[in-house]
Symmetry: C2
């Protein structure tokens, strides 16, 4: 459906046709359509949507659009929208709206839901509790398949997923999980007790959301149960929420690894000043660190006054060192993020990097030696650059391997030990190594 069609139908007041047309549009795609309409038309079109579609479309909108809509809707209309939202989406909404909008939302929420919302709001950001939903199917182990199916029918319509059903004891402690497939293919009289799996993978409400996504990655579950410290089931995290968390965390890692302070807003949504602010802190730190490398160079003024050609190799040596360091640090950071590399592997990883360095360093030294012999016919220079490359590559790869692991050990995010910082540090070492080798061999 095109935006022009909507405008035409609105103008000609063919609201029934419009509603029918919009019924065929996926709820996810409706916010993009609304974005191209003027303010008055937005609220008109939103009111035309069926109750269900309006609620679903609302959940996919950007915060600024939600805010505008809430201010335009009547209390009854708002109540309809909020009723359609899953509890975790309502909580997210409350967290991102300004106080006056929150007030309007809470006014239309009933007392029972308000209590649940307040509970959910207490979980720290990025915890399992903060991304879980409280709507799930709970069964008792003494139920038969028939009773279970009836229970699913009774409460299932409000559950974010009915694929997994959770078996609780009298104290609401999670004792088993049974999936809908098993219930469906079993005989009516069979007991849930005999169907449920008891080797349960669950997470605590306070668990970091990144750890939760790792479990989704490892076990192919559609949902993970979230329990409190007494092992009582309080909610579930569904896989679609996990995918969102994975994408957010990955974007954050990419930004951190490029020396940018991470933001949750998108590229175009972030203002020029925010962009500048997010990038400048690390640039300043790295710029002033690079001054150290500059200081070292001034100490060797005599060396390059005697042989000016030495200066010409500075970019190549610094560049190669930086690239080698960031190759290693990227592999280690990614390995740590996917749990493939652990802290205890530190010596195993270092030993691997050292051997890789020897091969890589030797090849680079030889190729570069050939180039220097062809261009300058200067064996001494070829040896100096070759040895410098070997040493620089080894130091760079060792630092690239060790620093992310060190960060992990200190409970910092390994992603900060990425290309920019590693490169700046490697620069210092490579310039030191370079001039030390040059002055020694060339006798300057």
């Amino acid at each position: 459906m095109e935006i022009e069609d909507i405008k035409n139908l609105l103008e000609t007041k063919k609201f029934n046709v419009l509603r029918k047309e919009l019924d065929g549009v996926n709820a996810v795609d409706i916010p993009a359509l609304l974005e191209d309409l003027d303010k008055e038309s937005v609220i008109k079109v939103f009111r035309i949507l069926s109750k269900e579609k309006a609620g679903e479309a609302f959940s996919y909108m950007e915060p600024y659009m939600k805010e505008k809509l809430i201010q335009d809707l009547t209390d009854t209309e708002l109540k309809n929208v909020i009723d359609e939202l899953f509890m975790d989406d309502t909580v997210d909404l409350i967290e991102e709206m300004p106080a006056n909008v929150v007030k309007k939302i809470l006014k239309v929420v009933n007392a029972k839901d308000r209590k649940i919302i307040n509970e959910l709001l207490k979980y720290p950001e990025y915890s399992a509790g903060s991304i879980m939903t409280t709507e799930f199917v709970d069964l008792e182990e003494t139920m038969t398949v028939e009773q279970a199916l009836q229970r699913i029918r009774d409460i299932g319509i409000d559950s974010e997923t009915i694929y997994n059903c959770y078996v609780l004891d009298k104290n609401r402690i999670l004792i088993g999980i049974v999936n809908i497939k098993e219930i469906l293919i079993s005989k009516k009289e069979k007991l849930i007790k005999d169907l449920m799996a008891t080797n349960i993978i669950s997470v605590n409400t306070m668990e970091d959301q990144e750890e939760v996504t790792k479990l989704f990655d490892k076990y192919d579950y559609f949902a993970l149960p979230v329990v409190d410290t007494e092992n009582r089931l309080v909610g579930i995290v569904t896989m679609d929420d996990a995918i969102n968390v994975i994408q957010d965390e990955i974007s954050e890692d990419f930004e951190k690894m490029a020396a940018i302070t991470p933001t949750e807003d998108g590229y175009f949504k972030t203002s020029v000043f925010r962009h500048a602010g997010n990038r400048i802190i690390w640039l300043l730190v790295l710029m002033l660190s690079a001054a150290i490398t500059g200081e070292i160079i001034t100490h060797y003024e005599e060396a390059f006054a005697a042989i000016p050609l030495l200066v010409a190799f500075i970019p190549m040596i610094m560049g190669t060192g930086g690239n080698c360091g960031s190759q290693s640090s990227t592999l280690i950071i990614r390995g740590l993020a996917t749990d493939e590399i652990e802290l205890k592997d530190i010596f195993k990883a270092l030993w691997k990097e050292v051997r890789v360095s020897l091969i890589v360093g030797a090849v680079l030294a030889v190729v570069n030696g050939i180039r220097i012999m062809i261009q300058y016919q200067d064996l001494q220079l070829a040896i100096v650059i070759g040895l410098t490359l070997m040493a620089t590559v080894t130091v760079a790869k060792a630092l690239g391997c060790l620093l992310p692991l060190l960060a992990k050990r200190l409970n910092l995010d390994p992603a900060i030990m990425a290309a920019p910082l590693i490169t700046t540090l490697v620069d210092i070492f490579s310039i030191l190594i370079y001039f030390q080798i040059a002055t020694t061999i060339m006798g300057i």
Copy 2:
């Protein structure tokens, strides 16, 4: 369950106890347990596992372990394992095993499955067809809810997911989707026709797998239908497979962005020689490109012979340029990957980067100017470095923004235009700018 317990139970031949203990272990965790056993014990323990658990545990094993096991299993045992696997897992297995092992596998597969396998093997790598499974629940629109439930019971046991059921017409063309929740909560007599959603999001078999994962990200589906060019349903991609693809693609992006040839094997599984090989190509390219920067420097020998201090600022200018360029390129590459930035946004993005550059460049120039005035009391030098920083930052951010978009335009992976390549290119420009400004202002 600890590895020592398994060894003890094996030694004391308490096989029944062992089987019961292993039943309580999650299938995902069994490969790690087997890895610590000697070859003979591995096959013993594997034989003790229940048929279902053995098949599931097998699907989580690393290729080398699968290969060893297949060689040790009898044909009947192998058939049991293969029967437990989903069709897409069997195809993946065939793709990663050597020819003699594939022969052994195909021998135990029945004729019907062999035909499906051959069809699946024809889809190109990284296509939707290559990651889909052919097992799903298909319904007819004339069925009642009761008939649909019976159909799910009949075939559901073999379907990777029964959450979504697919409504096909006589020609197997996909005409609707109905989820199990809706079937369960509806009256027995209701027709599937009246329950199914007809605004279907589907992908073609040849669609790139990365595009498929973007759909999962956008629409919160548990499975996406895969259709052929005639819109006939041939398979489904489930969300757990999508998560695996997302993680693989992300790892690939990280590696490409650090100038590493991507591999599918993990860090420790890749040999030292493979590691060296994967890293050396880009290092050589970048090293030889850095020689250009070196050549430029030799042209300005007179300048730094006159004022040696100029050399000391090379690392800082190159470093800052590189960091600015990789900040921009990372944001653009990530934006392209998540579809937040599109090709048509090129001028919008460039304009944003230019404005950010002006702010960032000015701040860096001022901070650095203050440092130079304190350290050297040389206003001319402060102006030269300040202007160079402003110009370098702008060029770096413009290149970092444009090159990934150019790569996308040329149907190349934008990820190759990341930090290492951008940094090397920016180096060339920044050195040129630096010495040009220095010689002009200082009159050398």
